[in-house]
């Protein structure tokens, strides 16, 4: 027997000694990992079940359209809150989307040197700013200045949460458009902004829309920055410089009340909110189902691919 064969022999007996143990450890880890997945899915299931079960019980036409009743009374609804959420989403989108899109265009089409790098860096970090701090900022620069809680302040705060998401998803979608498209435009003698809007953006549209929808679904559920900006109200909208209600604020109010029917109404409001938000997310997912990728994953992936 030559030394190599001898060593094979030794190694083989060692392998036999250990292999059962190794396979056992492997199996144990697999079980633990799988249980972790299940444990993470349980809260999701529980949340959806509770919201739908309790929320459907509270739902009615009056509930969706009327103003809130007195605390503890069984009547009243969340009409102003639904209206307010739609208004604030619309107004923040009007402010946040153009800034986000232009800033994304800047990052993708004009980025040069250190300045653009710092813009991207701050956009990424700003995306993770605690939303309550953004709310305080809006309070300081708008509420304190005009002297009253207002829709403007709330929309400004939410637009600040929105625009970095729109900017980065826009940037990533624009970068996916092949460079030849731009060269073709230049060869035709088109102006850069015409190329950008007519050719590049129309090719990158679906990615950008995804980003915008995701940012809408994100701000739709934001509560903390609304506390010190739009404040909340039990009346329907009556002006941009006055307080207004919103679904997340109403849910919070209702949850603080010690009455059973207030809790029921809270679930009802939560159901409306979750339908809006999950509706947007599912629409995005459905849109991307056959493309096998989604904007958020791309965003995470491309964190590394900075030029």
């Amino acid at each position: 027997m030559n030394p190599i064969q001898q060593r094979r022999q030794e190694y083989r007996s060692l392998f036999k000694q250990n292999v059962k143990n190794r396979l056992l450890v492997d199996k144990a880890v697999k079980i633990v990992v799988f249980s972790c997945v299940i444990i993470a899915i349980i809260p999701l299931g529980s949340i959806l079940i509770e919201v739908f079960k309790n929320g459907l019980a509270a739902l009615s036409i009056e509930f969706l359209t009327q103003i809130p009743g007195a605390a503890g009374s069984s009547g009243g609804g969340i009409g102003p809150a639904i209206q307010g959420t739609l208004i604030i989403i619309g107004l923040s989108s009007l402010i946040g989307i153009p800034i986000g899109v232009m800033s994304g265009i800047y990052l993708s089409e004009y980025e040069v040197g250190k300045f653009a790098k710092s813009v991207r860096f701050f956009t990424d970090v700003f995306m993770e700013f605690p939303s309550i701090v953004i709310g305080i900022f809006a309070f300081l620069v708008i509420v304190l200045v005009i002297g009253s809680f207002s829709v403007w302040a709330g929309a400004f705060a939410l637009s600040l949460i929105m625009f970095p998401i729109v900017a980065r998803t826009t940037e990533e979608s624009l970068k996916m458009v092949p460079h030849t498209y731009r060269e073709a435009g230049t060869a035709l003698g088109l102006k850069k902004w015409v190329i950008t809007f007519r050719i590049v953006i129309s090719a990158a549209k679906s990615g950008m829309i995804t980003g915008i929808l995701l940012s809408v679904s994100r701000i739709g559920g934001e509560t903390a920055p609304l506390i010190m900006t739009v404040l909340g109200s039990s009346q329907f909208f009556h002006g941009f410089d006055t307080p207004m209600d919103a679904l997340p604020l109403r849910i919070w109010r209702l949850s603080l009340l010690p009455y059973d029917n207030a809790q029921g109404q809270g679930w009802g409001a939560a159901l409306v909110l979750i339908i809006i938000i999950l509706g947007i997310n599912l629409a995005v997912k459905y849109h991307y189902m056959n493309k096998g990728d989604n904007m958020l994953t791309t965003l995470i992936k491309n964190r590394g691919n900075r030029r």
């Binding site: 190794r22 450890v25 697999k30 972790c36 999701l44 800034i99 232009m102 700013f129 305080i136």
Partner: protein, 323 residues
């Protein structure tokens, strides 16, 4: 003719220039906002720093009654640290396990599962809070807190206190659930960035799946996974509503975390609870803004570190071994 051409050219250059300026301005917006925010938070919290100095960070008083005003941020800083740390301890291992499972599962299973976990991210904080307050808290109190308290409450300080469900551990567990989507999604991408050849090298040596992770995936993605976890920490630190609804909202010395079953208060929750009632004229509002400033600093430091680590990891995904 030549003049007309020149005029067209000029107009073209002009409109392109305007477009470029517009884009650059939009790009600079974030810098302006960040600078203005820092300036506002610093000047508006100035009174509390002038009054208390650095002892604002180390004091535990919290009294807004006129004439006896005294504010210290320490309990809320500790509350934030405690809840975030517990949330990390629970959430990060779960998230990494989920990322392992999804990154290794066939797309038919991994895809939908990844989507389900992403749905967790889409659910608003306020709904986590409502669910935590009206559903989770009850089960958690009856099945976990009370038994633990009955068994160890007298001997182990961690389990002392009065299990009521509105306390540090309830808030932390819900917080853990909330950071799972972020941490697991980033970890998953980082694990997917480990080259297939690395996995094959491990399998070739006769590794089991778990050994393959230990040999090929974890060493390669360590930096990125730490970054992903820190990203989750950033989320946990800034999270407001769910914590506000579950932590029991103590103030002053009573808010210093004393056991898992004691109520406390975090930096963001005290702001959410008191900001609207605070008068801009008194020290109360500057104190809350001062807390916001501390919160922002902590969040920024955490996120910058996470950002650098994750970026570094994804950058080397094709590097080193292929050249």
């Amino acid at each position: 003719m030549a003049n007309a051409n020149l005029a067209i050219k000029k107009r073209r250059i002009l409109s392109d220039k305007a477009f470029k300026i517009g884009a650059t301005l939009a790009g600079s917006y974030v810098l302006v906002v960040v600078a203005l925010m820092a300036f506002q938070l610093i000047t508006q919290s100035a009174p509390i720093w002038e009054e208390e100095g650095l002892s604002f960070i180390t004091k535990t008083d919290w009294n807004a009654v006129e004439g006896r005003e005294s504010f210290g941020a320490l309990p809320y800083i500790l509350g934030t640290l405690a809840t975030s740390a517990i949330a990390m301890a629970i959430g990060v291992p779960l998230s990494i396990a989920i990322a392992m499972f999804i990154s290794d599962a066939p797309p038919k299973i991994g895809g939908p599962l990844g989507f389900l976990v992403e749905l967790l991210a889409a659910i608003p904080s306020i709904i986590y809070g409502l669910w935590g307050l009206l559903v989770f808290r009850i089960y958690f109190k009856d099945w976990i807190e009370t038994p633990l308290h009955n068994m160890f409450g007298d001997n182990v300080w961690l389990f002392s206190g009065n299990p009521f469900g509105l306390d540090i551990i309830t808030a932390s567990v819900v917080l853990a659930i909330m950071i799972i989507p972020t941490v697991s999604a980033v970890s998953r991408e980082i694990m997917k960035a480990v080259p297939q050849q690395q996995r094959e090298a491990a399998y070739m040596l006769g590794a089991t799946k778990w050994e393959m992770f230990k040999l090929a995936v974890f060493p390669y993605s360590k930096t990125g996974l730490i970054g992903a976890s820190i990203l989750g920490l950033g989320r946990a630190v800034g999270e407001t509503m769910a914590v506000t609804m579950l932590i029991g909202n103590a103030t002053g010395i009573g808010a210093i975390p004393s056991s898992l079953f004691a109520p406390s208060q975090t930096m963001s929750s005290i702001i959410a609870n008191e900001f609207v009632e605070a008068s801009p004229a008194s020290l109360h509002m500057p104190a809350l803004i001062g807390i916001a400033l501390i919160l922002l600093l902590i969040a920024v430091v955490i996120n910058v570190i996470a950002h650098v680590l994750v970026t570094k990891m994804l950058k080397i995904k094709e590097g080193a071994i292929n050249n």
